[in-house]
Amino acid sequence: MNDKIISQVCSTYNNNKTRMMDIVTTLNKQLGGIDDESIDLIAKATGSPRVLVESTISFYSFLSKDKKGDVVVRLCNDVVDNMQGAKEIKEVFEQELGIKCGETTEDGKVTLEETPCIGMCDQAPAALINETVVTSLTKDKAKQVAQDLKGGAAAETLVKDLGDGNNANDLVKSMVNNNVKKKGEVIFADREDNVGLKAAIEKTPESIIEDLKISKLRGRGGAGFPTGLKWAFTRSADGDNKTVICNADEGEPGTFKDRVILTEECNLLFEGMTIGGYVIGAETGIIYLRGEYAYLKVFLEDALDKRREANLLGKNILGKDGFNFDIRIQLGAGAYICGEESSLISSCEGLRGDPKTRPPFPAQKGYLQTPTAVNNVETFCSVARILEKGGVWFAEIGTEASPGTKLLSISGDCDNPGVYEFEFGVTINDMLSESGAKDTKAVLVGGPSGQIIGKDDFDKAICYDDLATGGAIVVFNSTRDILKIALEYMEFFVEESCGYCTPCRAGNVLLRNCLENIVEGKGQTTDLKYLEELGESVQFSSRCGLGQTSPNPILSTLKNFKADYEALVKEDDGFNPAFDINKALSVAEDIQGRKSVIFNENH
């Protein structure tokens, strides 16, 4: 029976192994898991070594070889969710379903799992149930959901009240709320669709690049590479086929701003991508949509269809002879690393999401070896607006070196979590008061790959030369244990490292373990130097942005919250406090049915 489904799905994608992600995500959904026999069949159909198929499946957390339940409940275990009671919600699910996380009910109906940030920190605790998002969970709600699922309810039926805006659209039907708390001049401004695109095709690509340079637009993902320059490189690179990719894999814990753009302003994004296609001379556009946002896929596809009908995509766009461009959606499957542009390209090519060796850079050889420009959702939107209103207009917003606005996803200990469109240059203090944060002890700027800062730095500004950020802001008040939070973020990096390079794969585990000892009161003063030196080596030697920033939760708290560490570590007295004789003996004591005589006083 599986043979038929598999050959059908493979042929939908022309048995093309570079579409492996689509093949395996579709099959995983239909079959509940892709077993060894299925892997062989896929390998045969696509002419791919079986181990390569297995490699791809094994990489993504939403895919598996084992068959899972009809419904998979993925409870978000992000720091913000945990602050808002996710652990209790998990207990309710475990109790009601009679299984532990990682298990499937005996009747094969429900699998319970945990997953890192699903982009719902403004309405935490949240869960992903198949592709349906359930938000603002309480213990009562969780109980109801679990009981419904036990009774065989389909995931979609769990949505009772629809969210605002397009969340209520027939093609979305989601309970997610946008929570747009502040509208700015660029992204959430009143405007007319496609004015930028129409202006663009009247110009030459070179003059658009000039506009972008005048605007001083820099990438909104966090790294801040000048967009005009990136597009100029990609345009001038050798190669007939070029590619424009939108990075909609916002996986940085605490960020959810692209979710809102995708829900409310997808046409602005498509417009920006189409302009990108025009500028660099690309006919292929891809939106890499994180698997967690699969609930938006049908809606986005419909929007793309409408654009095709209106000749805003396709051949000779808007009557411009030879301007051909189209966009497809590439769904991810649960891998933070795929937010790294070269990993994202690997994933689009149907491979495991390993970053690629640079050089060659994506602008030279990216997607399927074609020159490729990868940009953030917000960057494309800004491009469309710049084409509409001019580079000078844009350059005057924000600060001299960081023009424009920045969407910030603010969550955690504040009264008004949501998406804020601020001009660059806004200080942490301004942001805190606007979001209704009180008694703030620490702020995570830029997600765990950014910095955890303390009061001394609250007068700093969000911009490329002070606090650069992709947009994730998490607020912690004075009741929070900063080191436990840092530990949760280290756990996240251990989980999400692709494992390609030594320092990130092995180093993060060691960092996590040492911090865990400290948090448990089993650390010593020498551990602080150990963490610092190890963290620096991971930062220095890692192959991509993940490893180069993964020690940040530790390094930034060592810098900004040293006293929290010092309060926990013991003076070095020659004995390793992490060694626990009771634990080391407990197994033998159980087996042999006697207690230690030597270490009796400890029992």
Binding site: R50, P359, S541
Partner: protein, 234 residues
């Protein structure tokens, strides 16, 4: 390949490289050894072990993947970089189960040799004691994942030189491991003992059977002279 030379510096010393060469290759020709593990001549560089990380105009880059560029200043043998390299080697030792005392590769193992070269007496990190598998199903070749450092040399050699796809990685992060192109095990693949992939392993993770301990202690590759001295004393 063009014969045009590219001038650049390593630790202040002027080097002449060729167009298309990596920093590691140009250094090697000039008698400078840049420590490395995952690098193997003739295959696509993997850039995963990170041991060859140097500073190029102040930025960390792997010498095995970075092409030479006119005028760059490369730092290689500095205290800072050596410290990072030692840390990476320590990480690799504690991440796996390396029992040198009975490993067939001991004395010829590149990981061990690098540790010797750097004078490492013991890793500074706690041993992780992971559970790893063995695969002895193949009549001529043995896989011991306890030693595997995930350098990718076997994966790439099988692809680039043998024209096969015997090996690949599965899983991610600390769970990442070597897998073979067969539902069951190595015996189910098309690997042959004459494949270059069978001898690509820098450590004792892929071993040819019936060849163990052929060279007596004292005469093995790195017993007397450190790894890299063959380049430095050219």
């Amino acid at each position: 390949m063009s014969e045009k030379t590219i001038k650049f510096k390593i630790d202040g010393k002027e080097i002449q490289g060729k167009v298309g060469q990596t920093i590691l290759e140009a250094a090697e020709e000039a008698g400078i050894y840049i420590p490395r593990l995952c690098h193997l001549k003739g295959i696509t560089p993997h850039g995963s072990c990170r041991v060859c990380t140097v500073k190029v105009n102040g930025r960390p880059q792997t010498a095995c993947t970075q092409p030479v560029v006119e005028g760059i200043e490369v730092e290689n043998d500095t205290e800072e970089i050596t410290e990072h390299r030692k840390n990476i080697i320590d990480m690799l030792f504690v991440e796996g189960n390396h029992f040198c005392m009975f490993c067939q590769k001991s004395g010829n193992c590149e990981l061990q040799a690098l540790a010797y070269r750097f004078g490492i007496l013991a890793p500074k990190y706690p041993y992780q004691f992971p559970k790893r598998e063995l695969d002895a199903t193949h009549p001529d070749i043995f896989i011991d994942k306890n030693c595997c450092i995930l350098c990718g040399r076997c994966v790439q050699t099988s692809k680039d030189i043998d024209g096969k796809n015997v090996f690949e990685f599965v899983g991610r992060g600390p769970e990442k491991q070597l897998a073979v192109n067969s539902k069951a095990n190595l015996a189910g693949t098309d690997i042959s003992v004459t494949d270059k992939a069978a001898e690509a392993c820098p450590v004792g993770a892929i071993i040819k059977k019936q060849e163990g301990y052929a060279v007596p202690v004292g005469k093995r590759l790195y017993d007397i002279k450190p790894i890299g001295s063959e380049i430095e004393n050219k």
